[in-house]
Symmetry: C4
Subunit: 233 residues, 4 copies
Amino acid sequence: MSKYQHIREEAYQANMQLPKLDLVLFTFGNASAADRSLGVFAIKPSGVAYENLSPDKMVIVDFEGKTVEGNLRPSSDTLTHAVLFKHWDKIGGIVHTHSTYATAWAQAQRDIPVFGTTHADYTTADIPCAPPMSDEMIKGNYESETGHQIINCFSSRQMNYEEVEMILVGNHAPFTWGKTAAKAVHNSAVLEYVARMAILTEQINSGAPRLKDALIKKHFERKHGPDSYYGQS
Amino acid sequence: MSKYQHIREEAYQANMQLPKLDLVLFTFGNASAADRSLGVFAIKPSGVAYENLSPDKMVIVDFEGKTVEGNLRPSSDTLTHAVLFKHWDKIGGIVHTHSTYATAWAQAQRDIPVFGTTHADYTTADIPCAPPMSDEMIKGNYESETGHQIINCFSSRQMNYEEVEMILVGNHAPFTWGKTAAKAVHNSAVLEYVARMAILTEQINSGAPRLKDALIKKHFERKHGPDSYYGQS
Amino acid sequence: MSKYQHIREEAYQANMQLPKLDLVLFTFGNASAADRSLGVFAIKPSGVAYENLSPDKMVIVDFEGKTVEGNLRPSSDTLTHAVLFKHWDKIGGIVHTHSTYATAWAQAQRDIPVFGTTHADYTTADIPCAPPMSDEMIKGNYESETGHQIINCFSSRQMNYEEVEMILVGNHAPFTWGKTAAKAVHNSAVLEYVARMAILTEQINSGAPRLKDALIKKHFERKHGPDSYYGQS
Amino acid sequence: MSKYQHIREEAYQANMQLPKLDLVLFTFGNASAADRSLGVFAIKPSGVAYENLSPDKMVIVDFEGKTVEGNLRPSSDTLTHAVLFKHWDKIGGIVHTHSTYATAWAQAQRDIPVFGTTHADYTTADIPCAPPMSDEMIKGNYESETGHQIINCFSSRQMNYEEVEMILVGNHAPFTWGKTAAKAVHNSAVLEYVARMAILTEQINSGAPRLKDALIKKHFERKHGPDSYYGQS
């Protein structure tokens, strides 16, 4: 048995959640799971239908993007995953989808404003939309540069990837991450839900204000602060 | 067997309806069922997935919010339920969700206007949106204060909680109630349906008028007046 | 066995299609099937959940609205059905729902413009929205007057109920009909589909023009004219 | 066994995908599969419900629209398929639906702008909306002229049907095609998905810009250029 069986299994389970949660059409998405002690991650093979996936079809790739184990070609977005795993050393899973509402915000090139507590339960910030990449980046190593565009967006805004686990890449689509692949999938579903409510909020009240600071702080701390009291500890 | 078995079962059944009716993503919601003779209610444990629930996992809490029976931590919204049960002595069940359309109206901080008979079959009033809470309330006992915010909204508008069994908490999400937990769930689904039709109505006709008084009265009385003639009596 | 068994069965099957086609929430709708030789129709009992229906629970009512057979109270909308069956002698089935998009147009008090061939395949006219009823009509025999409001709308616009088998009642919701209950159900689903595309059309192009006359005529005649060539004849 | 069994099977499978992918209500769509060596295509019979289809019910038609084998009347849109198969000799399958969002763009008479990479993965161009047909064309051989309208639109815009495999016919609905019937179905689903995200994009940002040229080129070449690297080669 492969010594990567555990992340093959984890990546497989995460990928299979994407169609179940209505986050992908056909093969428009991919999830990965990393083992940092081994310096590799497992990722969906490119263009293979979800119903044909199995743990043994996951491709094992190192943080430079080199295939370590597997006969299939990894996701065309593999280098974006590799760059994020390499630079952000606390994340264990990444998900990329073209989910409808989050992608529409990315296409509109707008941050998603924090309009309510559902959003604040996950992050205190507007969900950032990185600007579309420069022509030089696009013509270069595109997928690798997509990863750098994400990292640069967080750096320039002084945002912390452990506090905000999601981003929109302008004109493209969302990426989410987390300590595990399962958490990254969870974040993708939440992002889609929040993105949908945000457009409805603006349609109901074009001048809808951002959530007040006290509520942003309160809700985030309910779930994440040192005194959090959500869930079973 | 627990002497609270009947409300454990009632709360369990009500909670299980929430994902079935598409009112919740993941664990974004909770239902409770009270036994007033015993002075307690059963409520969903915090952060436990619906597919992992069972009647014995419900937590029994008194109207001050103190856990009476159960090993799990109750919903983080428990104190809101407790305050409402304590102050409104005719209700037997409460539901809280972040359902998409109702939450969008809450985020937009607008009452839902009564645009048609579907709405009037349930209440003669616009569905109220309580203002976002003050910073003092937020920094205090937040969930308890959420309950007071709801009660204050009804008092200041001179509304009757037996005639209007639903509210939006500004920037947050809806709460509904009823004589039973099942009725509170029913009201949550109706609220979501009405909220969706209301935004569509304004999109089709930005100057759509409120329902005329004669129709509001007629439809409410068809279902609720002393001469009601809907359903099997 | 009841001599009304055939219309009990027909009405039952039609009612069961309504939740299957996503046209109703809970009990927000009803279908009826008439036997003109017997001068009666079968209709859903009031407020009974679809999953609890069976042919023997349908209520048999005459065209004056008097119950002829059955122990349950018939739909609260029964008199509307009765008036339509009585005045329009070519229809064999009627459906009433509060389906989301059609009801939103009714609440907006607007006719649904014929924007495309999907609509023209069914009717050459805009789908009419009858004005909300007068206070006198509402305070009178409300459900009976709803039927008269529908008939008056068709008369005043010189529309033919055999060519246009659907209407919106302003501030209320849609009614559809047809030679059979199954056709009335079919029309309800088409109306909801057309209503949804019409709002989207206006959102994409606020100045979208009505379909040109030549296309309206062509598509209607493909399906309905003496030289129709749609389907298996 | 019919010598057309292979395309009967292919057309059947393609048609059955349409309701599964939520692209059709009732019988509002049809798919065809051609065998160019035999000079014929198999197409759905007119007005037959999908659940009643089987391979042997497909109708075999030549590229002039003449039925070659089969007892049922072919789809009323058969001549449109025939014209496209006759003039565009690299396509093996065609799909026509009235899918909600694509049809709404057709009714709005607007091209769908390329707003993001999801779109650019399929085509570098805005998805064209052919103008509504002239009264002469409508009164002539309507379905045949619909095919010519599509071909004329591509000619006048100097577009290549192998690079852009989809079109909207103004006031009517979408047509898609591909090397196989399965690819034509795939394109119908992608078109609907892209059409939905495009309207949302404009609602979020009414001034949303088209995708920049470098990204359009990059994404299309990832999937389609000589150096494409998507999927398993």
